[in-house]
């Protein structure tokens, strides 16, 4: 009965595992590569870099994206930077230190071997991007510039103004475009995966052999076959409706794989980013992130006196009139060693703690200040404008407040999901031939991701990890001829998709997709948000059942299914967000400890810090689908720390 989980960690000392793996893995020769097809779903940093690299290795790649061009993927919105252990600043950085910071930042809930490999290849990423013409910031001497990010005491973050994600994605997109021109990659834009197709091999074991997708312009349902399927479709943060994700970001591809048997790991680990523009009204469609890099120079504070906070909330006091001695720089007070640069989960919880106590600074009481007055005094307005000008402009356009003159107001919001499809060391899911890369897998960030590490992981997976590990799988597939999409497995999957669509179109209720999605978002934020309890998670599960019921009884999707239909696209994604929501609640309920982004209020230290229960929960929680309406089954992958001493995270001293 008990299933064993083999994460395929290579033997040998930590620092030699990846080298050993590469030295002994199986490869595919150039002539055979041409005979092998790979489907890559998603064209963000992970998807585009994987498609480009597998293309230049000689595989035949089919790359799918829902936008009109691969360049639109939401990786483009990452602002602050990308980490690498180059130690160009001579400030004591090393592969080990980046590895250590990432494990510690993740609150000791990630795999040592994966994270070490990530730190190891981080340096190659910077070299690769520079060769592609990514215009990273530079010093006057012509060398690359760095800045610091949360959870680190060194400057190891490379950046291109406040548009690092954009520049890295455009680099990967350029490389991808080159492979399209060379005929190695075929692009399928405005196409959305709706199911993964599994075919049994001669041993009766399921292997991923293709996908069913919808052409979003014509509404046609189509089939595509390949020797392996890779999903790089990002995270599921939009389950909360309001998040920093793009409007189209969704967790559907991951959920489709989950429904077909791929394990979903640590779904409760969602990152709440401390520096977002606060919510203003009920018409809002998304939340805008203000880059973490702002915490390099901005100081976070709320008033010390409750009456000052009350006056700010009533709009009768100008924050600039509060003298320094009446300001509570609570991060500097609580965490002297890291100050304003504590990791995101810590900063978010600290903001919530102040606001819960009534010290919030805007009309809703759900905001804190991020103040640049001190940086402007120290560096001058021009230097601050040079570093953060575009972010300040963005802030002013949205809020109508000038951040050079008044402190910014910020509040935490859902930003990234550390949980995702379970993968082994080779980035293969629990289904053979199905791989997951980038944010949509669970692997490297544990319970909390450090700033500037998402770009690193996406590109590490796509450029330098998957192109090796997928060959270990494909090497025994060279005798397998290309698959016909006329096989009965494809027909069955397509019929299933069509049936779901017809069912949704025929509900003919009264509520729009967005109205139900907003209801889902409220439940998630309220009961599966920054602070969770047994009761809140149980309530969430009950309420999610009700949301699911209203979805299937009261939804209205106008128009037809066999043509462009944006509401239908959103409805299909919402169906999956409800599933994600339930998974998050199940996982949160099971994990009776606080770690990283998962804060169970029952488990905290007297100072309000997260309290882990290492003896009981030092494992990856893998959830296996048991069918519609049934609770998923839990499998555990134990986390054994051989090289790092597991400690309580300390950012105080």
């Amino acid at each position: 009965m008990a299933k064993t989980i083999d994460s395929k960690i290579p033997e040998g000392p930590l620092a030699e595992k990846w080298t050993n793996y590469k030295a002994h893995q199986k490869l595919v020769n150039p002539a055979n590569k041409r005979k092998l097809d790979i489907i890559i779903v998603g064209s963000g940093l992970a998807g585009a870099s994987a498609a480009a690299t597998l293309g230049d290795l000689g595989f035949k790649v089919k790359c799918f994206c829902i936008q009109d061009s691969p360049r639109r993927a939401h990786s483009i919105a990452a602002q602050g930077g990308i980490n690498a252990a180059k130690n160009y600043q001579n400030d004591g950085d090393s592969i080990y230190r980046l590895f250590y910071d990432t494990i510690k930042g993740g609150d000791y809930r990630s795999r040592e071997a994966n994270v070490y490999r990530l730190a190891e290849v981080s340096n190659n990423i910077i070299d690769q991007c520079v060769a592609q013409g990514v215009p990273f910031a530079r010093e006057y001497g012509g060398t690359l510039a760095n800045r610091s990010f949360g959870g680190a005491q060194v400057s190891r973050t490379f950046y291109a103004r406040g548009q690092t994600g954009q520049q890295l994605l455009l680099g990967a997109y350029s490389a991808l475009s080159r492979q399209v021109k060379l005929g190695n990659v075929e692009l399928f834009t405005r196409c959305e995966m709706l199911d993964v197709v599994l075919i049994k091999d001669e041993n009766g074991e399921n292997r991923a052999r293709g996908i069913i997708y919808r052409d979003l312009v014509t509404g046609q349902i189509k089939r595509c076959s390949a020797h392996a399927v890779v999903i790089g479709t990002g995270g599921y943060g939009n389950a909360y409706f309001l998040s920093t994700n793009a409007m189209g970001s969704n967790g559907s591809a991951a959920i489709q794989c989950y429904r077909k048997g791929a394990w979903f790991a640590n779904p409760a680990f969602a990152q709440i980013h401390p520096t977002c523009i606060p919510v203003h009204g009920d018409k809002q469609s998304k939340l805008t992130l203000m880059s973490e890099s702002l915490r390099n120079d901005g100081r976070i504070w709320v008033p010390k006196k409750l009456e000052d906070a009350k006056a700010l909330q009533a709009g009768t006091l100008n924050p600039n009139d509060i003298p320094d001695e009446d300001r509570d720089f609570y991060l500097e007070r609580r965490y002297p060693a890291f100050g304003n640069l504590v990791p995101r989960d810590v900063a978010s919880r600290a903001a919530k703690e102040r606001c819960d106590k009534g010290y919030g600074v805007n009309n809703t009481g759900l905001a804190v200040f991020l103040d640049f007055k001190y940086a402007i005094q120290r560096l001058g307005k021009d230097v601050v404008a040079d570093k953060y000008g575009n972010l300040f402009d963005m802030y002013q356009e949205i809020t109508d407040v000038n951040p050079y003159e008044n402190p910014m107001m910020i509040f935490p919001a859902i930003h990234y999901t550390m949980g995702g499809i379970w993968v082994d060391y080779e980035l293969q899911t629990s289904i053979k031939g199905l791989f997951a890369i980038g944010e949509c897998n669970f692997s490297d960030h544990g319970a909390n991701r450090l700033g500037a590490s998402a770009l690193m992981q996406g590109l590490a997976d796509g450029y330098f990890v998957l192109p090796y590990t997928i060959q270990n799988y494909l090497s025994d597939q060279i005798q397998v001829p290309r698959f016909s999409t006329d096989l009965p497995e494809f027909k069955a999957a397509e019929d299933g998709v069509k049936e779901q669509i017809e069912k949704i179109m025929n509900i003919k209720g009264k509520r729009s997709v967005d109205s139900i999605h907003k209801e889902l978002g409220h439940i998630m934020w309220e009961y599966v948000g920054m602070g969770r309890t047994k009761e809140s998670l149980e309530t969430a599960l009950k309420k999610l059942e009700e949301v699911e019921k209203s979805f299937w009884s009261d939804l209205f999707v106008p128009g037809q299914a066999d043509t462009l239909n944006v509401e239908l696209e959103k409805a299909l994604r919402l169906r999956d967000f409800i599933e994600v929501g339930k998974l998050m609640a199940y996982d949160g309920l099971n994990r009776e400890e606080s770690c990283g982004g998962h804060f169970r209020e029952e488990y905290q230290t007297p100072e309000g810090e997260a309290l882990r229960q290492d003896d009981k929960f030092s494992y990856v929680a893998c959830w296996e689908y048991q069918g519609a309406g049934k609770a998923p089954e839990l499998l555990k992958e134990p986390l054994n720390y051989e090289y790092i001493k597991v400690q309580t995270r300390n950012y105080k001293n």
Binding site: Q128, C129, G133, K283, L564
Partner: protein, 251 residues
């Protein structure tokens, strides 16, 4: 505090690329001015859906001005009246009570309409595929700090690289020229030593592809620069022309 305004929206509705389109007027009541333009369209779409009608189709995604997906022509301006901002960064406080606001798709031979306000910009991908890259494979590249690049050059390259590929320059140009888009990519790579190696080939290939796809020529009216949400400068076009002429002279 923010207030509410009421106004009339005149929106271009067109079922498909070959079908006839028309403006349809929608009265909008009591819209908070701290709503973004796209959130205002969300409100209208919610109202249409509640009446059983099909919503207005428009492209959008990140809603923070970086993905380049949103593409509305508002009151005769690509991305509306604000400078240096995309449609999604436009807020209703820019408009007044009683206004009539006209919303159209990008109109250009290079960008056929798909439905309503959504257009097909795949031509941009094709231009990029013609040469918008450095021909390096993954791996086997030198250390990132091995070639020093002056801060000035790196900053200029970054200015050019900030293009989001939205197509506003084409929509704003009376000739439907994609020169600003092409020049931004050619400039970024020509300014950097990594891109210098194949600069001439790149300029020729991208311009040839642009011409082939039906985009017009540049007559220096500077409308593209004025409407570009990322303020990409037409000095990039001058640099492109220089690269192109040098390449041709060498042939």
């Amino acid at each position: 505090m923010d207030k509410n305004i009421s106004f009339t929206l005149k929106v271009w509705r067109q079922r498909g690329p070959k079908e006839k389109g028309q403006f349809v007027s929608y009265p909008m009541k009591d819209i908070p001015t701290d709503t973004s333009f796209l959130e205002m369209l969300d409100i209208l779409n919610e109202q249409l859906i509640n009446k059983g009608e099909e919503p207005i189709v428009f492209d959008h995604d990140c809603r923070e001005g970086i993905c380049g997906m949103c593409s509305l022509y508002i009151n005769g301006h690509a991305h509306g009246p604000a400078t240096g901002a995309t449609t999604c960064q436009l807020y209703m406080r820019r408009f007044n009570d009683g206004d009539v606001i006209t919303v159209e798709p990008w109109r250009s031979a290079g960008f056929p309409i798909i439905r309503d306000l959504m257009v097909d910009r795949s031509a941009y991908d094709k231009i990029m595929q013609a040469g918008g890259y450095t021909s390096v494979n993954t791996g086997g590249v030198p250390d990132a700090n091995s070639i020093p690049i002056s801060k000035e050059k790196a900053d200029l390259a970054m200015d050019a690289a900030s293009c989001i590929g939205c197509g506003a320059c084409v929509a704003a140009c009376k000739n439907g020229s994609a020169m600003l888009f092409v020049s931004a990519k050619v400039s970024q790579l020509a300014l950097l030593p990594q891109g210098q190696v194949e600069a001439a080939r790149r300029a020729k290939a991208m311009i040839a592809k642009m011409d082939e796809l039906g985009f017009g020529n540049c007559t220096n009216t500077r409308a593209c620069e004025a409407e570009c949400p990322k303020c990409v400068s037409i000095s990039n076009i001058a640099r492109l022309n220089r690269e192109f002429i040098c390449a041709k002279l060498k042939d």
